[in-house]
């Protein structure tokens, strides 16, 4: 194609959006029947490059609409409006075991979307595209405030939605990798929920004292939310993923201080020593470390370490005592935790106790452990730093990319509806405000 006369136009709407918003990618004024590749490139905070691409053929008027036309090949196929994000993978030659996570939520992810001639699969960086645009993907809506919290020796960040409030609140817990991971809390604040991201494994107090936190640490975090002038103290929920689920369930059922309005547990289990805090929970997990398996690709499979589901009630949270609605999200191909088995046992316990009306289980076939906000690239396995051994190893999370990505999208939408229904009054949780997702 003559570069000088190339009139091909590329449009991505919106050019600045939240990470859970869909975008529309339109290629126009290509020659009729033209074969082209739509390509996405992202350079993450760690300096690694990630790419995704789809092969398309322009129609008779020279248009390609990624939301309507099928990709004929590439890192995704079929009609996949958001395929260019969820199928992002490290470029060839990258270090193995990478995982894409945004640590600085105050600046957006920048993705360059380009159009290349023909159906290509490599060497994109050595060519000049026919057109390209830059798209910003934000974890924080305008007006969301980010407030570091250090009182009571907590390591946390509070995200407040814009406006006078008061807002419902949420405690947001990640898993065994530790660190203060903010992106989900900032995204939830962008949806009107005052969210507190809490580091409970690598927090300053742990580094300084050498001891794991006790349950009062979480209760202090709850109190910070409850007493905040812009938070509605009686509308606080809790969300945990992986190890965060263990804490969430323990607090939801046993804490005298926390009066949770609802809870969400993603990729976790109810198996843990009922009397005990973080340290005891971790010890319990490690006692069967010998049940770790290794995959053919030398990845660690940890799901058996917690199996079988015990019948001894000293080692699983008494779900019959749960008094608030609970949303459980599991991936059926979770290779890290036996989340499905646990969900089944929780359901049984609650049916026997008569409180199963509180439970909703979302179970996704071929989804893995890391069920993240939508369009986050799927990591089937990645480098994980074990807190116990301080070693980095490649851990198998599981999941098949397309199915996992569909699960992330569906789970997020349902999670937002669940939170809004339970944390706001009334039964109409802003259907319009979610319609663009």
């Amino acid at each position: 194609m003559d570069r000088k006369r190339c009139t091909l136009k590329l449009l991505v709407q919106p050019s600045r959006g939240l990470v859970d918003e869909m975008f529309i990618i339109l290629v126009q004024k290509a020659p009729s029947g033209f074969q082209l590749t739509v390509h996405a490139l992202h350079k993450c905070e760690d300096g690694h490059s990630w790419e995704a691409f789809g092969h398309y053929t322009a129609d008779t008027i020279g248009t390609v609409n990624v939301s309507e036309d099928p990709s004929l090949g590439g890192t995704y196929s079929g009609v996949e409006q958001m395929g260019l994000l969820w199928s992002l993978r490290p470029v060839p030659g990258s270090k193995p075991g990478l995982r894409l996570r945004k640590m600085n939520v105050q600046i957006p992810m920048e993705v360059t979307i380009s159009v290349y001639q023909g159906h290509q699969t490599e060497g994109f960086m050595d060519q000049v595209p026919l057109a390209s645009v830059v798209v910003e993907r934000w974890y924080m809506a305008p007006g969301v405030s980010r407030i570091p919290i250090t009182e009571d020796r907590l390591s946390a960040t509070l995200f407040l939605p814009p406006g006078p409030g008061p807002f419902p609140g949420l405690l947001d817990l990640w898993g065994g990798g530790g660190q203060l991971v903010e992106y989900r809390a900032s995204l939830l604040a962008s949806h009107g929920i005052a969210s507190l991201a809490l580091d409970y494994l690598t927090a300053k107090i742990i580094m300084e004292t050498g001891k794991m936190v006790d349950l009062q640490y979480f209760e202090k975090a709850y109190k910070i939310l409850e007493q905040h002038p812009q938070v509605h103290g009686s509308s606080i929920g809790m969300l945990g993923l992986s190890l965060g689920t263990s804490i969430t369930l323990k607090m939801a059922v046993y804490s005298e201080v926390m009066k949770l309005r609802c809870a969400v547990c993603i990729s976790g289990c109810h198996m843990q020593p009922v009397d005990g805090s973080v340290e005891e929970i971790l010890k319990y997990f490690n006692q069967n470390a010998d049940r770790t398996r290794i995959s053919e690709e030398n990845e660690l499979i940890w799901r058996d370490v917690l199996l079988p589901v015990p019948s001894d009630l000293a080692f699983k949270v008494d779900m019959g005592r749960l008094k608030c609605p609970l949303l459980v999200v599991v991936g059926e191909d979770d290779q890290n935790w036996p989340a499905s088995e646990s969900a089944m046992d929780m359901e049984e316990m609650m049916e026997q106790a008569g409180n199963s009306h509180l439970l909703t289980v979302l179970s996704y076939p071929k989804a893995g452990h890391l069920i993240e906000p939508p369009y986050t690239p799927h990591a089937r396995a990645s480098l994980f730093k074990s807190l116990a051994t301080r070693e980095k190893m490649i851990v198998l999370w599981g999941g098949e990319t397309a199915a996992h990505s569909r699960a992330q999208e569906d789970a997020w939408r349902k999670l937002l509806v669940f939170l809004k229904e339970n944390l706001y009054s009334g039964s109409n949780p802003g259907t319009t405000s979610l319609s663009h997702l």
């Binding site: 360059t112 595209p129 830059v134 910003e136 809506a141 103290g233 009054s425 009334g426 949780p429």
Partner: protein
Amino acid sequence: MSPPTSPILSVQPTRGLVDEKLKVVVESLPPGSPVTLHSLHHSEDEDYWEAFGHYVSDFRGMVSVSEDLSFGGTYTGKEDMGLLWSMRPVPGSRKGLRLRKMNVCSPMLHNISVYSGHVSEGFREQTPLTSVLVERWYMAPGVKRIDIMEKGVRGTLFIPPGPGPFPGLLDMWGGGGGLIEYRSALLASHGYVSLAMDYFNSQELESADLEFKYFETAFNIIKEHPQVIPDRVGMFGLSLGSLVTMHVAAESTIVKPRCCICVSGSHFYPNTFFCIAENNHHVWRDMWIHLLDDPSKKVDVGKINCPILLVNGKDDQNVPADECAEDIALLMNAAGNGHLLSRVLYPDTGHLIEPPYSPHFRASNFKAAGVATKTVMLLWGGQTKPHSDAQEDAWRKILSFLQHNLYSSTPPRAKL
């Protein structure tokens, strides 16, 4: 204690370009309740601007600004963008203000809020039910901004993202001078390499020597840029910038613009800026009219040989745009190039035809470049609602004219 019953306000997009439409929806209100939708902006000059509309929620407790009617406030009726274009300085503000974004690398921030009842004043003393913050950008992501100080030309170049090459535009404002970047940034966001020129520095100007060569040089800077298609460079002028555009298009033997856009311009060469005061507002319109009869004082528009679009307001109190456009048409028809001319004329529209949804000012403080150091209150004209409609319509027509003449592969035609 029951959870909060606050209404839910959603504004889409929360980060958009200034010419994109907003969708504002409020839900979970009590049914049939009166509410006020309010927008507040704190300008770079530290003034506050606001707009508001009075609505009533439906049986589901919902208000949709694009579908419902406003029954009062700074705008009425079905106005999806009223919260932006009807903004005006809050009561108690300084007089003669004009809202212009000087730093285009950051967005304009608007606080959109919902108040209970039909409120018309004292918004700051009340707490809204809910509010969101909206960003409005002149620059799309990936647009590059480059300071130009080359061969005597001062300006800012904006380049769209991507390899290019792109068509180019020389973008010129009016007699107020200074380096105004926002329209160029927006044009680059639409795919045009655009050079905002500082050609009339208020400080310097005594010899109003709009040197011809200066514009030819600027035009060539764009033309010779590696990311510009050399035979697809046009010119865009407002007010005095229109005069420059027509002059270069008619007289230059060196530069050949592919097309021209002249907003609120006249084709007279000014020699002095004398004013007739009216209501303490300086009105410059009438002084030009008598010049219409003197051909030596006009641009020889018969020599223009590229498509040219004139955009004018019928209530322009600064230049007699309507009369000028008529005269230009006469002259061009007589010269046999009338087919290159397109004119749009908007009723009740003033001089400052800006990108859409910009607030309208019938008059504002103006420091005329070269008129000593006196700041006067200049009457621009226009009535807010029709002027805002004109801005929206004109922008769409301008973009389509540019698309056709600078992007299309068929030979350019003037007629829209």
